[in-house]
């Protein structure tokens, strides 16, 4: 069964599953899992359940031919320079497309190549890949160094999450006309540590994360797993069926036309997903979007309450920021020394490094130094949003990231949740808006449970009793009477 990029109804998916018919269909703009394959043998696409296979540009020719014969669409990963030279060969050899592997420093070059290659080779699909994703996981605070001596890095810090949400938001902010695509390498054991093999939960979490964030992922498979799958090892296939169920869950949109909702707009001059402030905002469930300082569209910021600027504003941007503040927003300008129009207003010194300027019904806060403590900064941003405005609050959600989606600038419709702890947690959720019905579906249990909503002062509260790896909340104004919308 093909797992991604299709726009058919859930009922049809169900029927397909019942009949055991394996269908390979074309992709669309949603979220896809591409499988990175390195082993010489491979199972047929219809058995693996994924049809998009990524091979290295120097993969042996027999493997490329075998992959096509086994029913895969073959994409070849290479640098932008190699793509320019090999695109014609790609067409003649029947590749489905080329994936341009470009680190941040090569981004501009890759985007230029992407545009020109697309127009020169319309039959091929091209993607720009960010290869610097992280293995999604809940992290502890122990650091192993010097062959089996353990250290603690930060005794009072809260649990960490390694997520790819900031990377995805930055890619979306780049607005290069494609769904964000990333890959990551699995963490290696550190000194003295016994090798740990990836589990079904590890792969499932990676697949679920990409699906929940509406991004494309190139998933690396352990060499042992590839070999076992191609040898039809029963345990390997048991593992893989679980992973496949997560991909199936995210293979269709919860609703059409959803957009990520945000409380915060982050304005940057270089799009660097490694920025820890954004990672910490993600971990604290502060919904944010990213915009380039050179391409800020003030009209896109109607829904946000706080604008965080990690860029030195030029005259145009400074004017835009002052205008946003005058409309009631809080603008936080970080480490951008200079003269700005809002400084003509009365300044209030907040502390040694922070000054506030009242502007219209909003304010501009200047922080005179880089963010020294991203954790505290994220909590400050949460306070600036305020309890009355926050789209989303979680309780007992320290290992959970929730991503809210809305429809066409309207109210919230869907909440995608990922639990990086992997063990089921009981999460209490508060969302902005009054909803009459809360429905919940998950890859583990399908569709749908109903949770009793409690409405208070324009907010709706409910409890998810057992969020395992992933779940989706459908926020409904009226309870649905039909049963055809559910996930199979």
């Amino acid at each position: 069964m093909i797992i991604h990029h299709w726009r058919i109804t859930r009922r049809r998916i169900s029927a397909t599953a019942v009949l055991g018919v394996f269908v390979l269909v074309s992709t669309c703009a949603w979220s896809s899992i591409f499988i990175h394959w390195t082993s010489p043998a491979l199972p047929p696409a219809r058995e693996l359940g994924f049809s998009d296979l990524v091979l290295s540009y120097d993969a042996p020719s027999p493997l490329m031919q075998a992959a096509r014969k086994q029913g895969y669409r073959v994409y070849v990963e290479m640098s932008p320079q190699q793509a320019t030279a090999l695109a014609t060969k790609a067409e003649s050899e029947g590749w489905a497309g080329i994936i341009l592997n470009a680190r941040q420093s090569e981004r501009a070059q890759a985007l230029n190549a992407f545009a020109s290659l697309r127009s020169a080779h319309p039959k091929l699909r091209f993607f720009v890949l960010d290869p610097d994703g992280k293995q999604p996981e809940m992290r502890g605070s122990l650091v192993i160094k010097r062959d089996a001596v353990l250290e603690v890095s930060s005794p009072t810090a809260q649990p960490w999450i390694d997520s790819n949400l900031a990377l995805v938001r930055v890619e979306q902010g780049a607005d290069n006309g494609q769904v964000p695509m990333y890959s990551f390498s699995w963490n290696s054991p550190t000194a003295g540590q016994l090798a740990r093999t990836n589990t079904a939960a590890d792969y499932s979490l990676a697949v679920a994360e990409a699906g929940a964030f509406h991004a494309d992922l190139i998933l690396e498979l352990d060499a042992g797993l590839q070999k076992a799958l191609s040898q039809r090892d029963r345990q390997a296939w048991t593992l893989w069926k679980q992973v496949r169920s997560y991909a199936e869950f995210y293979s269709h949109p919860a609703q059409e036309g959803l957009q990520a909702a945000a409380d915060v707009a982050v304005v940057v001059d270089d799009l660097d997903p490694s920025d820890e402030a954004m990672n910490l905002m993600a971990r604290h469930n502060i919904p944010f979007e990213v915009s380039s300082a050179t391409n800020l569209q003030s009209e896109d910021m109607e829904g946000v309450d706080v604008v965080v600027v990690f860029a030195k504003p030029d005259k145009k941007l400074a004017f835009q920021l002052e205008h946003l503040a005058s409309q009631g927003k809080t603008v936080v300008v970080v480490d951008a020394h200079g003269s700005y129009p809002w400084q003509s207003q009365g300044a209030v010194q907040l502390n040694e490094h922070a000054v506030s300027y009242a502007v219209g019904s909003g304010k501009v806060l200047e922080l005179s130094e880089p963010v020294s403590d991203p954790e505290t900064f994220a909590q400050d941003i949460r306070r600036l949003i305020g309890n009355r405005n926050a789209l989303l609050s979680l309780w007992n959600g320290l290992t959970t990231i929730a991503v809210p989606y809305r429809q066409n600038h309207g109210g919230l419709k869907v909440l995608e949740l990922i639990n990086y702890a992997q063990d089921p947690v009981r999460v209490q959720v508060k969302v902005k808006g009054s909803f009459a019905a809360i429905r919940y579906e998950s890859p583990e249990n399908g569709c749908c449970k109903s949770f009793a909503p409690a409405q208070h002062d324009g907010f709706t509260e409910f409890v998810i009793p057992d969020l395992a790896i992933a779940g989706r909340v459908l926020l409904e104004n009226q309870p649905e009477t039909g049963s055809g919308k559910g996930h199979p």
Binding site: E151, S153, L194, L225, Q235, A236, T376
Partner: protein, 335 residues
């Protein structure tokens, strides 16, 4: 990683949920983590058999979950929650674990003359909203809630009954529960034959059992808000806990902290991070909060009479105070 045959790591298949088997004679390290008690618990254990270590670690995690089921004030069905609901009306029979933890906490309350007090929960709840950006409670509200607080209002009826002599008393074991949990986890590991392990409760409390192979003890770097002195300690069959008030806001004025002084009814004003080393997690955990509230001068007096306890107070400007009758705290750098 020291594989004699490194390719083994690549060929082992992926079906184990923990770690694969190592075929060397040197014990290997198995490291696992679980989210329990609102934080990430990690257990690192050395053993010849990774399967044996994994099984023992699983059992230790189960014990921590069991402790949480009794000590949590978040879980409505926990023994503590039941006690908080009913001990105003009648003496409530509680599990022996809970009785022991509350009894130990009250001993520290007496030692610190009330600075450490597990009945501070109503004040903590009062200040929670202010931490998330709402207005601070008024003095009148603070005074009213202070009437609910006081360890002397907890009555023990041996062997396992507790009652409250205040209609609004609530207990919160957040300042001691993780310490007890690491102690219990260590007992389970020992019973399972694991002798060299380190149990980390979210970085705030750790307990070291034995030592890594070829080492005399576990090296632990302590919290250093100055980032200048890198304090370190070698732990062997000892525990270390760290307490620190909430870090001040970068974009505002003073933000209220999460550690409340039961005497004043307000968040304690201190820049220090305090780390305490003691023989058990129960002791290090409760002492670290106590010493944060007392400060270096009074804290020094309190622990000078205690055997095998070391403590360090560190300020962001690298001011340091130490008391050491236990393991030596050394500095990796000089301020």
């Amino acid at each position: 990683m020291r594989f004699n045959r490194p390719w083994i790591a690549a060929l082992l298949l992926i079906f184990s949920s923990a770690a694969s088997v190592q075929s060397t004679t040197r014990p290997g390290l198995v490291l696992q983590k679980r989210y329990i008690m609102g934080t990430v618990f990690e257990i690192a254990a050395y053993d010849q058999s990774s399967q044996h270590a994994s099984t023992a670690i699983d059992q230790a995690f189960q014990e921590i979950v069991h402790v949480d089921d009794e000590l949590s004030n978040y879980k409505s069905g926990s023994a503590l929650s039941k006690l908080n609901r009913s001990a105003h009306f009648h003496a409530e029979t509680v599990p022996s674990d809970l009785y022991r933890v509350i009894e130990t906490a009250v001993q520290f309350s007496k030692l610190s003359e009330g600075k450490f007090d597990i009945s501070v929960a109503p004040l903590v709840n009062l200040w929670k909203a202010a931490l998330s950006g709402d207005a601070e409670p008024t003095l009148e509200q603070q005074q009213k809630v202070k009437g609910c607080v006081g360890y002397k209002k907890i009555e023990f009826i041996a062997p396992r009954q507790i009652s409250f002599r205040s209609p609004c008393m609530q207990l919160d074991l957040g300042a001691i529960g993780k310490g007890y949990a690491v102690d219990r986890a260590a007992e389970v590991l020992r019973a399972g034959g694991i002798l060299n392990a380190l149990i980390n409760a979210g970085g705030s409390t750790m307990l070291a059992m034995g030592a890594p192979p070829g080492q005399s003890a576990w090296l632990v770097h302590l919290r250093d808000p100055s980032h200048k002195i890198d304090p370190q300690v070698m732990l062997k069959d000892e525990s270390v806990s760290t307490s620190e008030q909430t870090i001040p806001s970068l974009l505002g004025k003073d933000s209220p902290g999460h550690i409340i002084d039961p005497e004043t009814g307000q968040p304690v004003q201190t820049e220090f991070a305090v780390s305490v080393i003691a023989k058990t997690g129960l002791m290090s955990d409760s002492l670290s909060t106590t010493l944060l509230l007392l400060g270096p001068a009074k804290g020094r007096v309190l622990i000078q009479g205690m055997a095998e306890v070391s403590a360090i107070w560190i300020a962001p400007d690298a001011r340091v105070e130490t008391v050491m009758s236990g393991p030596q705290i050394v500095f990796g750098r000089k301020a």
